[in-house]
């Protein structure tokens, strides 16, 4: 199956400093497996990591990577892919990074449909800053900054992606590795912006959205015969706030990536040795 590197090639020699049991371990393993399964190589992969616990992933994987400023991982990935469409561009960050400080970029990255994969390691809490509520925290979640709950409905990333005309919208669970890998492989192979929200429980600060909670409540769309190409069916599942789903909720089979619609197919880094043909036309315009 694999033509590229194997799983271990994507691992760096740095040991993760995540808390023992952190959901990010599973999510990272899923990402690395999916990359190797799709034939990607560490040399040809450009990984952009956000800020937060999840953002540390950039250090633990072995690819070309950048760990940027908080909330701005998506534009970096977008610029990298446009400037070199041959790269496999992966962006990963947390729910705070993606849906709070970086929310504007999320909406526009979805609309732009650059061919890349965006993985949100969603733990519904701010962990690295030691326990404040996040945009996906439940209304009743009690945290340092929400002692009596947030009194706000959680942001719904899937609905946000759908309303921004997303072409690949999926959800996964860090501890269901088999499904996580399948979903991520489909995301990587999708021609456009693939968004995968991965529940990655925080074992230290979130005592509500736990492994047990997800294990007991998540419904896999495969078990209910869902067709991801069926937009209306996807809409129904995404707006069903009584149930949380795992799987590919929506995939537009006719997705055309930003690069394809703009005719971008070559890396931009290489400059000709001599002035390119037609360069003097730039000056002639001003005569």
């Amino acid at each position: 199956m694999s033509t590229g590197a194997n799983f271990a090639d994507f691992k760096s020699d740095k040991k993760p400093t995540w808390c023992p049991g952190c959901g990010d371990f599973g999510t990272m393993n899923g990402i690395l497996k999916a990359l190797s399964n799709t034939g990607a190589t560490p040399e040809n992969t450009f990984f952009v990591a956000g800020i937060g616990c999840s953002g540390k992933i950039g250090t633990y994987i072995r690819t070309y990577s950048i760990h940027g400023v908080h909330g701005r991982a998506l534009p970096v990935g977008c610029g990298a892919k446009i400037a070199n469409p041959n790269l496999e561009v992966m962006v990963a960050g947390g729910d705070g990074d993606g849906f709070s400080i970086g929310a504007a970029h999320f909406i526009h990255a979805v609309r732009r449909n650059v061919n890349m994969t965006y993985i949100v390691m969603d733990n519904r809490i701010y962990g690295l800053t030691k326990g404040q509520y996040s945009p996906t925290s439940g209304t009743d979640l009690k945290t340092n900054t929400s002692p009596s709950g947030t009194h706000m409905p959680p942001l719904d990333p899937l609905a946000l992606a759908l309303s921004s005309q997303g072409t690949f919208i999926a959800q996964a669970f860090s501890s269901d590795l088999k499904r996580l890998i399948e979903i991520l492989e489909a995301a990587i192979n999708h021609n456009g912006f693939a968004f995968v929200n991965v529940f990655s429980p925080c074992v230290t600060y979130n005592k509500v959205d736990t492994y047990q909670y997800f294990r007991e409540t998540l419904v896999d769309v495969n078990d209910i015969g869902h067709d991801p190409a069926d937009y209306e069916a996807a809409k129904k599942l995404i707006f069903d706030h009584e149930t949380e789903y795992q799987g590919i909720l929506y995939q537009n089979p006719n997705s055309i990536s930003y690069e394809d619609s703009h005719g971008l197919d070559s890396p931009m880094w290489k400059l000709p040795e001599t002035p390119p043909e037609g360069i003097m036309n730039l000056l002639r315009e001003f005569y």
């Binding site: 070309y64 360069i279 730039l282 001003f286």
Partner: protein
């Protein structure tokens, strides 16, 4: 004195003032005349007051002067706005049949040329061409051959089809003939001679855009903002011809991050914005510097703070470019002093960025951005541009000296000159990470005190190397032996050159295209009898820098009313210090 003519068209936003002005400027340029233009405009789509002024002469002109010789007034306000610049020999072209000019009374004893612009335009095929009728009238009134205007109209309208071109030519002819039939232009005393010289006519934003593409910029990310938008507009449709792309981002934070992403893949990338955008980009600017990514960030300054005066001139962002961002990070700040220099400094900005892996602020301002100026074409030596990419390793075999004992690439190798190598994704053996966290040579996070110190010193050393290797010099004008020193940075150069030509005393003028690093002129300042620093802001930000460098007080000549310096203004200001009081009183 320069034998020049100052012409303007003024009216409301939406009257086509800008394109009319540009057509006439083009006609003058094509007739082998030098041109320097200025604009007044506001942040609105319709109404208000807007004007396009042209100063033209047979010799190069490089500033505005406070005089108006020929004025096309589409509104009465146009005349009011220019009253102080109008003189007894001024001509005012207006349409007395239009309600906008109803009850218009000529000021003092100027000559009014009442031309039925609207009626003649309708005769030529449409009222929309009334400004062209006025241009035809201008040609007749200034003894300027209509053929030049016709050439410019062809250039402007050829894309819209031959009928449009012919109608516009007819409109110009009707205006031209109306003047000849009803007035005697030889009475006016204006003759716009033509020469065989060939010039190009362009503004600062266009010069930056052309420089960027010529320098190999292949990804431009931006968000619309006055007065930098014209750069994005210029790039769009041109950069693609060379394999590049323009992307309009959702905000300036995204724009700089998109450019950063492209730069990490080895592409030459750029973003341009104005003050508010610079504020938003500042956090990422630190990341660019920390990750040692080459990037050009263009700041076309406008009057701040906050929204300030978006369509007005100011050089108020020097401090924010120098000191903006938390912590201490390396940067270059280039400030082209003329429109031609906008082109050259843009090329240099890309080279500096890649040779030292440092972000470069390329600073323009509103004056440069909106001024169209003529140059001999060979001023823009596109084909002989040198592209210097620094230690950019694109082959696995070149990586060898930069690997550690485990074969890992060191993007922040602690070198003698501080400059580390750069490679790009896709190159086998070069895998590495970069981060905004303090890091070791491999780009891995560290808080280890000696490593921190080494990396800080390494980054600082790059600038020291650059100062040793590059020629960060000032441009010098006036009398080299004079101990009266006039200093400026950025776009004031042209006005100051003309101003010092009007002075009785000889002065030495140093114009700074480099703000940081900048040439050290401490001794020159210390030894001068008088030092004047001229800039468009309220506190004298560059003056403060020079005072800090030289530990010597300087005299500030500042302007912060939103309008650029004119040569006359500067001469008057300097004279107020240089001339004895009794001379000034006369």
């Amino acid at each position: 004195m320069i034998d020049d003519l100052n012409w303007a068209i003024g009216g409301e936003a939406g009257h086509g003032i800008d394109s009319t002005g540009k057509i006439f400027a083009q006609a003058l340029s094509r007739a082998g005349r030098h041109v320097f233009t200025s604009k007044v405009f506001s942040s609105l789509i319709r109404g208000g007051y807007t004007s396009y002024k042209i100063r033209t002469a047979l010799v190069p002109v490089q500033s505005v002067v406070d005089r108006m010789d020929v004025l096309i007034a589409l509104t009465k306000r146009t005349v009011e706005e220019n009253l102080s610049q109008l003189h007894d020999k001024s001509l005012i072209i207006y349409d007395g049949e239009r309600t906008m000019m109803k009850d218009f009374e000529l000021p003092r004893n100027m000559t009014g040329l009442n031309v039925p612009l609207q009626r003649l335009a309708e005769e030529a095929g449409g009222a929309i061409m009334r400004n062209i009728v006025a241009l035809g009238a201008t040609c007749a009134a200034t003894n300027f051959p209509l053929s030049n205007l016709n050439g410019s109209l062809e250039k402007q309208f050829s894309r819209k089809g031959s009928e449009i071109v012919e109608n516009n030519k007819k409109a110009a002819l009707l205006g031209h003939n109306y003047i000849l039939e009803n007035y005697n232009p030889s009475d006016f005393g204006y003759i716009l001679e033509c020469t065989d010289a060939t010039y190009v006519l362009l503004n600062g934003d266009e010069a930056i855009g052309m420089g960027a593409i010529a320098a190999g910029c292949r990804l431009y990310a931006g968000y619309p903002i006055t007065p930098a938008t014209a750069i994005m507009n210029y790039m769009q449709g041109r950069i693609e011809q060379f394999g590049g792309h323009v992307i309009q981002a959702e905000d300036e934070i995204s724009a700089i991050n998109i450019a950063l992403g492209a730069a990490r893949t080895g592409a030459r990338a750029m973003t341009a914005t104005s003050g508010p955008g610079i504020d938003l980009m500042t956090e990422t600017f630190g990341l660019v510097s920390m990750t040692e990514t080459p990037l050009v960030i263009c700041n076309v300054m406008r009057a701040g703070p906050s929204t300030g005066m978006p369509t007005k001139q100011e050089q108020g962002d020097l401090n924010t470019m120098l000191y903006g961002g938390h912590g201490e990070c390396e940067r270059f700040i280039l400030a082209p002093t003329t429109i031609a220099e906008c082109f050259h400094k843009t090329v240099e900005a890309f080279n500096l960025a890649e040779k030292y892996n440092v972000p470069v602020y390329l600073t323009g301002d509103l004056s440069l951005a909106v001024t169209d100026q003529t140059y001999p074409p060979d001023e823009f030596d596109i084909e002989s541009i040198q592209i210097e990419r620094g230690l950019f390793l694109t082959k696995t075999s070149d990586l060898e000296p930069w690997l550690n004992s485990q074969g890992q690439f060191k993007p922040h190798a602690d070198t003698e000159d501080g400059v580390s190598p750069r490679t790009l994704p896709g190159i086998e053996g070069g895998i590495h990470m970069v981060t905004g966290l303090e890091h070791d040579e491999l780009g891995r996070r560290t808080e280890h005190p000696p490593t921190r110190e080494k990396q800080v010193q390494k980054r600082k050393r790059k600038l020291k190397t650059a100062i040793e290797q590059e020629n960060f010099d000032y441009r010098e004008f006036g009398s080299p032996d004079s101990d009266i020193l006039v200093i400026s940075w950025g776009s004031n150069e042209g006005a100051i050159i003309e101003a010092i030509g009007q002075l009785e005393q000889k002065v030495r003028f140093l114009s700074f295209p480099y703000v940081s690093p900048r040439p050290d002129i401490s001794e020159t300042i210390q030894n001068a009898s008088m030092v004047f620093v001229i800039e468009c802001n309220a506190s004298g930000q560059f003056a403060t820098l020079l005072e800090h460098d030289s530990l010597t007080r300087v005299t500030r000549i500042l302007k912060y009313d939103g309008v650029r310096f004119s040569a006359d203004e500067i001469a008057k200001e300097l004279n107020s210090y240089l001339l004895p009081e009794e001379v000034m009183l006369k």
